[in-house]
Subunit: 333 residues, 2 copies
């Protein structure tokens, strides 16, 4: 009996040791929401090339940097950027403290529900709305405001929480890349402090791996306690040519893989592809009007024109959402 | 025989399994270059408090952020900041391309070996030297210049490579913190792109965990290839009140432990200590004139005056280099 028990125990330990090291464990499809086909194959082939020890395209783990745009790449961005919807909600919430807004544009139109009218003033109106809702408080106060909004607000069309309008196939892709030694970063035109309060929970991407646009901060003491006050002054715009600049300033390494969906991501993809060794660039093309939204060259939000031409000319991977993705959003909670 | 072999194997596996999980393995002193005493005890006690599961001061791993100043905290900074010595070497190397420097200050004095004369013009002269040597090339070119210098240059007094003028006790501290789930960052007044080429190899801190001062970058195409060109324009000064700002912009979380050595670190330590829960602040006090350098309140480089008063008043940990450290530098290669 003793011998048998010992043998059983050894067998068990061996099975367990094998299970920990065997590739068979990883054989389950890591991208179940992606339909089989060229798009999925291009992702898997790239990951295998750079992560296979001894392969000619092997990349050390420390250099496996992958950068993701957020709006339209990791979560939806229609009918307008969610951060703009946040700003509108904030204008309404703050209106009682600002009686003058009733007669001042762009706030007056916004408060009447006329978003188009409010934004008729272009960049100047947008900047006024953003600064009125993003500056003037401490960094901790803004963090609490964003956390409260993201937990309670609902998308105007789907009525889902915004954090449930993330793309299930992209969540799987993030997990798959990290399981293969990649460090995943967000590099978004969106506000860095608008994303950080929830990206770790939703995407598994911690605050220190989020790069985005920012306003200036001032260190000062209030009631004897140090605070960082958010100033109504642009610090950095992380879009278009700003994306490779943001990558260099914040990350300090060139990514080997980059993921975007609009012309705002074109320079990030160009910068990524211009490095040596194996490289990967992917554009999410919004082609699914039934399950999500259809838009590209004519859209103001998520404008995709020149980057689409370049992707086609250079053979970058283009996700056809309608045909490449089995599901769009995660199951509802 | 079979039974005995099986028993031996099981015993071996058990010992091995225990070794992986037992605290006994960690009983070897993780800070061998620190003399026993209050300073070392304060470090070890803090790390135990925040990393003991179930303890009242336990901090989840993701929030165990530790930030380190570089000059005077992780490596030496006398007779002047090493980045300034780099700049002087670069002025000499570039002089043949700039015949006009022979008659133009601050370059003329520098080329004659008169550093004091060159810096007599104050911040303006310093900025001219920095921009002439740090801007005008691509980010990749600058990276190569720094890597070449750091591999070949020698300290004027010790004749050691600069990367061997790092503090052995601080290297042990970095390793000890990381072994206990901390993520270690540099937050330095020094140039971010001057540090990143070598911090991973020397400190185990990857480029994306280095925060520092920076100049602006411009994304453009040269010969059809995208490059980032370093512009002679300040982007961010990561010193004094800039340190908490840099922490928020780059890391997005408040550290629970911060390490510095001068008044330039005071606000970083204040910001760190003002958070809730267990906190740790440490100042390296340069008290060892035999093995290193003695300086504090009267020194221009590494000026330590107000921060020393605050550390004493608030009971922050102060390293007395002469008495707390068994060795200063790592063994010579």
């Amino acid at each position: 009996m003793k011998t048998t028990n010992a043998r059983n125990l050894i067998a068990l330990l061996l099975v367990w040791a094998l299970a920990l090291t065997s590739p068979a464990v990883q054989a389950a499809d890591p991208l179940p929401s992606w339909n089989d086909g060229q798009t999925k194959q291009s992702i898997v082939a790239f990951v295998k090339r750079v992560s296979t020890p001894g392969g000619k395209d092997f990349v050390p783990k420390s250099e496996r940097i992958a950068t993701f745009d957020n709006d339209g790449t990791l979560w939806a961005e229609q009918p307008m950027y969610f951060q703009l919807l946040f700003s509108i909600d904030r204008v309404k919430a703050l209106a009682p403290l600002h009686p003058e807004w009733k007669d001042t544009e762009p706030f007056a139109s916004l408060l009447k529900g006329d978003v188009k009218g409010a934004l008729a003033g272009g960049a100047k109106s947008l900047a006024e709305i953003l600064m009125a809702t993003h500056a003037g408080m401490t960094s901790e106060e803004f963090d609490a405001i964003v956390k409260d909004w993201i937990a309670t607000a609902r998308h105007p069309i789907t009525k889902r929480p915004y954090t449930e309008m993330v793309y299930q196939p992209m969540l799987e892709l993030l997990t798959y890349l990290r399981a293969n030694g990649f460090k995943t970063f967000i590099v978004s035109g969106g506000g860095i402090d608008f994303m950080r309060p929830w990206t770790e929970k939703v995407y598994g991407i911690p605050p220190e791996q989020v790069v985005g646009s920012s306003i200036k901060l001032n260190f000062e003491f209030r009631d004897g306690k140090p605070v960082l006050v958010r100033l109504p002054e642009v610090n950095f715009v992380d879009d278009n040519a700003g994306k490779p600049v943001g990558i260099q300033q914040y990350i300090g390494r060139r990514p080997i893989a980059a993921f975007g969906n609009s012309d705002g991501d074109q320079q990030m993809l160009e910068w990524t592809m211009a490095g040596s060794g194996a490289r990967f660039a992917l554009l999410v093309h919004h082609t699914d009007g039934e399950r999500e939204f259809v838009y590209d060259r004519q859209s103001l939000i998520g404008h995709l024109d020149k980057a689409l031409d370049e992707a086609q000319a250079k053979g970058w991977t283009i996700v056809d959402m309608k045909n490449d993705w089995k599901t769009i959003y995660p199951p509802r909670h």
